[in-house]
Amino acid sequence: MNIDRNLMRLLSEQKRPFILSGLSGAIGALMLVAQAWVLSGIVETVFRHAPAWQAILPLVGLFALFSTLRVLFNWAGHHEAKKGTLAIRKTLTERLSGTVAALGPSYTRSAQSGRIVTTLLKGVESVDAWFSQYIPQLFLSLIIPVVILVAIFPADWLSGLILLLTAPLIPVFMILIGKRASAATEKQWNTMSRMSGHFLDMLQGLSTLKLFAQAKTRRDGIEEASENFRHSTMQVLKIAFLSSLTLELVGTLGTAAVAVSIGLRLLSGALPFRPGLFALLLVPEFYLVLRQLGTKFHAGMEGVTASKEMHEILDRTASIPEEGSRDLTADEASTLPIVIAGVGYRFPGSDKPALDGVSLTIEPGTVTALTGPSGAGKSTLLNLLLRFIEPADGTIALGSRKAREFSLDSWYRQIAWVPQHPFLFNATIRENLLMARRDATQDEIDKALKQAGLLDLVRSLPEGLETIIGEQGARLSGGEAQRLSLARAFLKDAPVLLLDEPTSHTDPILEAQLRKAMAVLMRGRTVVMIAHRLESIRNADRIVVLDRGRLVQSGTHDELMSDAGFYRQAIFSSMEEAAA
């Protein structure tokens, strides 16, 4: 019942606070018993003797002491459990973000990014209740009933017997009703997420609704969906509340049975007053703690669901490739050839290889243009060079050393990357640029912006370099984002440049500028580019033609044109055509 193995393993990593919490709970239970005993004593004294205030003062003092201690120990128990929970949440966040980081871009791009973010943040928050409420309550519901039974039996064995017999009724009812209720609840959660999804959908599509002059009529739809949701939820809640009513009635009837039996035996003199009162004080607590377990059980449910999502990520740790420890120097990177030997790659879940037996040596300081139809494997090859993925067959090496011998950090220090769709971070333009080189001076930043053709744009912004971009701030157009990415590459000034050439052919003036800038950027570096422009292909030192994962031709433009191969027939003519 609600014991998730993964969550239990996390729990065992934080034994101390939870043991302390259990201990505090146990002491709290003892205090509860002591408090009831003293209280019954006070009441008895008052009845029997109607004493002066001073006479019962010590007893009152004891009562105050025990009840204060009980409060304090309960507090401490909750607090320890919370402390343990927070420690677990911290570990979980660390592990999750660490795993996601280690899995890298190939994972974050393949999975729904929204879902990863939700698991990373909301997922961790939703395990809280399982650890901080359900587990302590589980302890308490094991400890308190036992303590109470042990205390009651010597005082009044009959009451104890009644408790012992009725107690199992609560879990039995809980399981019986809980099963049906939890199935219904789960269904209800789905309805609810669909409901709020519907609302979100309407807000996101508001412009579309307005374009069709339908915004006002859809308002009723929101109300209707929301009301339908209310009706169906109330159906579920009726069952859930009925179950707690049943449990409460079991508790109440149990209490009433004990009360009446005590009353009758007091009447007949079979039971002295104090033990009777003592028992009666404890009975409600006995049922309460069992009933609360049911409530906390539901509170913890969400955590079990979240745990599944989280471990779906954590269990991927095994697939993280090992990285070497050798440091790649700028010297090595700019003088050694990149040797790709028989490399193959297959996307998970795909039966066709994305790359198949590709061999290629990229000489330092040359420009290599990758070309071929979409799906030929150009991006896969670039991703392999970026070490976002590892080759399934064959090796990629720098000179005589395999790429994986070098540490990732040093590998990336020697690489500048300009992707087709660069990501802009929720930060200022300056911060977005400084990522490429943290110690760049203002002059260097300006120069990079100028080279990328962005300086005028940045100067026209009211806040200039301090303008926040990304989701939360001003959005740059796709072309502007690409230029920002070029500016980053200028700043990074790395010996190897991996480039997915921008495709927007819109602005002849800008285009001319960019072409010049790219020529400057490529000078003196080892460049591997996915080329879209005929001119870039023509100017490359070597053209590599890929088709369906295989290298079909390579050479200079002139060599390939003189050869009646794939390049001339398919690539060249299709490029002409697509542009026409």
């Binding site: 607090h79 973010v117 339908q214 009726k238 009925l242 009360a259 929720n426 490429a436 002849p508």
Partner: protein
């Protein structure tokens, strides 16, 4: 405080339901008090007066209160949850009503799904405002009043003591814990927002972060935000514990005070010992009403914060206000754009700068230029999503700001680059354009748009944001909508920009066929079949720099000719 009152104001239509629920909540605790008092009475009576008949009243009381407490609690839960959901419905509709006139101009900053999701979460979290924030203090106040009369019936001195300790538990302790907790909820929600941004950056920008060697930096920042958040949550939990403990201590204080003030009355015989026991137990039970106050204190700050965020959005002034007496939509659909200028808020670069051109009725005009030239701004102004800062647009000689915006939009069919499809059936997505269309008309429109395959799938779910359909299918669905809308003016805003060459070609043909005889404005940065247009307006940096037919522009050998060459491989 103002935000809080505004939030409470929103729940006003449910005031009676809320009052009822609070009353029943009070009755629940009242039954609890009754149950304990009756039990105490029963036992003490049994001890003092050993007669079965004397016990009868007590036994009945225990039974009645015991059962009524459970049953009343059941009713209370049903009513309060029902009310909560009603409030949630109302909040959603209220927000939608308030935000509808603001879209899209004032919502530009909330374009992203993440931010909108947060708004939806904010609204969802406000459902607590009744059950967790408003209701508990009301119940506690009623219980305090009840105990004043119950205890006061026997001893005013005792009642004063009980009142004092209940005021401490109900006012002083919550105020104290609110004071210590000040800023905690706000801090937590701030950190959550920060984490959200960091996590999105980490996950979506993973490639860049790796290459820049910044992954560690981001995971570290995420971790730091988490630690700070956890520290605050620890503080919140400590305060919660403190609150509960202080409430417990206030209760014990009340009990001791009762003994102190009423015991002498028992000694002098002025008070029955049985009564004293009942009072003691009743007071104990009454403190149950004060425990939920912790929740009130903890939720109020978060709710106010959520409320502030929502009010901040909806308090913006709408960009476009419909004229009070709109003119009827003109018969002629000749479009005249005169000296049009526009600058987006927060930018000091005009998006449009004195643009003039006209589109005669039934003609086809292309607006071309590089991205960022201001092309799409014209379409936003055309459908009155924004108002021009200078100049105007008129249709059939009538300035569009004198027309009813909804009427105007019904007469302009827009096909844009990204077609938004709702997570509903294909039929519902089509009916947007023509709410009264028959299935036959829908199928006909699908067929004309080249979507014969969808004719039998009207009830299929279009998927979240239309994800069950391909890009080409979605654009074709947009064209089907355009056909259904049957508007005299057609505005194509990069309608085929996201498609591959073959699909684009086919779609352009379809568009050409279906828009015959209508006034067409086509915005594009890709120059395809330009000879089909009667006029081409070339925009660059917000200004018209060239205008004319395709051949004439090529002959001019200016910017347009440069664009043409660039796209056709002669550069």
């Amino acid at each position: 405080m103002k935000t809080f009152l505004r939030l409470v104001g929103l729940t006003r239509p449910f005031a009676w339901w809320m009052a009822l629920a609070a009353l029943i909540g009070f009755a629940t605790i009242g039954s609890g008090i009754g149950l304990l008092m009756a039990s105490a009475w029963l036992i003490t009576t049994a001890a003092l007066i050993p007669q079965l008949s004397a016990l009868q009243a007590g036994i009945t009381g225990v039974r009645i209160f015991g059962i009524s407490r459970g049953v009343i609690r059941y009713a209370e839960r049903l009513i309060s949850h029902n009310t909560t959901f009603r409030i949630l419905t109302r909040l959603r509709v209220w927000f939608y009503d308030a935000v509808e006139p603001l879209a899209p101009a004032r919502l530009a900053a909330y374009k992203s799904a993440d931010l909108l999701k947060r708004i939806v979460d904010d609204i969802q979290s406000l459902e607590n405002i009744y059950a967790r924030v408003i209701s508990p203090p009301v119940t506690a106040a009623l219980v305090t009043l009840l105990m004043w009369f119950v205890v006061g019936h026997w001893s005013t001195a005792a009642a004063e003591g009980v009142l004092a300790s209940q005021l401490i538990a109900g006012i002083a302790v919550p105020m104290l814990s609110a004071r210590i907790a000040k800023g905690t909820a706000r801090g937590i929600s701030g950190l959550q927002a920060e984490q959200q941004l960091l996590a999105v950056d980490l996950v979506e920008g993973m490639g860049e972060l790796r290459v820049f060697g910044m992954v560690g930096d981001y995971t570290e920042r995420l971790r730091e935000a988490e630690s700070k958040k956890l520290a605050l949550q620890k503080k919140a939990s400590l305060i919660e514990g403190l609150h509960e403990s202080l409430t417990g201590i206030a209760m014990n204080g009340a009990l001791i005070w009762i003994l102190y003030s009423m015991l002498p009355m028992v000694s002098t015989g002025a008070l029955n010992a049985i009564t004293l026991a009942s009072v003691v137990f009743g007071v104990m039970a009454s403190f149950e009403a004060f425990l939920p106050l912790t929740g009130s204190v903890q939720n109020i700050e978060a709710d106010v914060r959520a409320g502030e965020r929502l009010f901040e959005i909806i308090d913006a002034k709408p960009e476009v206000i419909a004229p009070e007496k709109p003119e009827p939509f003109p018969k002629s659909t000749t479009i005249e754009v005169r000296n049009l200028s526009f600058t987006y808020p927060g930018s000091n670069r005009p998006a449009l700068d004195g643009v003039s051109f006209s589109v005669p009725q039934g003609s086809r005009t292309a607006i071309v230029g590089p991205s960022g030239a201001g092309k799409s701004t014209i379409s936003s102004l055309m459908v009155r999503f924004w108002n021009p800062s200078q100049g105007d647009i008129s249709i059939g000689g009538q300035n569009i700001d004198r027309l009813d915006p909804e009427e105007l939009r019904r007469n302009i069919a827009v096909v844009s680059q990204r077609t938004y499809l709702f997570g509903q059936s294909i039929r519902e997505n089509l009916l947007l354009a023509a709410p009264d269309a028959t299935d036959k008309q829908l199928r006909n429109a699908l067929s004309m748009a080249g979507l014969d395959t969808l004719q039998s799938r009207l009830d299929d779910w279009a998927g979240q944001h239309g994800m069950n359909l391909s890009g080409g299918e979605r654009q074709r669905l947009a064209i089907a909508r355009m056909i259904l809308q049957d508007a005299p003016v057609i505005l194509l805003d990069e309608a085929t920009a996201n498609l591959d060459a073959v699909t684009e070609e086919a779609l352009l043909d379809t568009l050409e066929r279906t828009s015959v005889g209508r006034t067409v404005m086509a915005i594009t940065h890709r120059l395809h079949h330009m000879e089909r247009y009667d006029d081409i307006v070339v925009l660059y940096e917000g200004k018209v720099i060239e205008q004319g037919r395709h051949e004439a522009l090529l002959q001019l050998d200016g910017f347009y000719a440069g664009m043409w060459r660039l796209q056709h491989g002669e550069g």
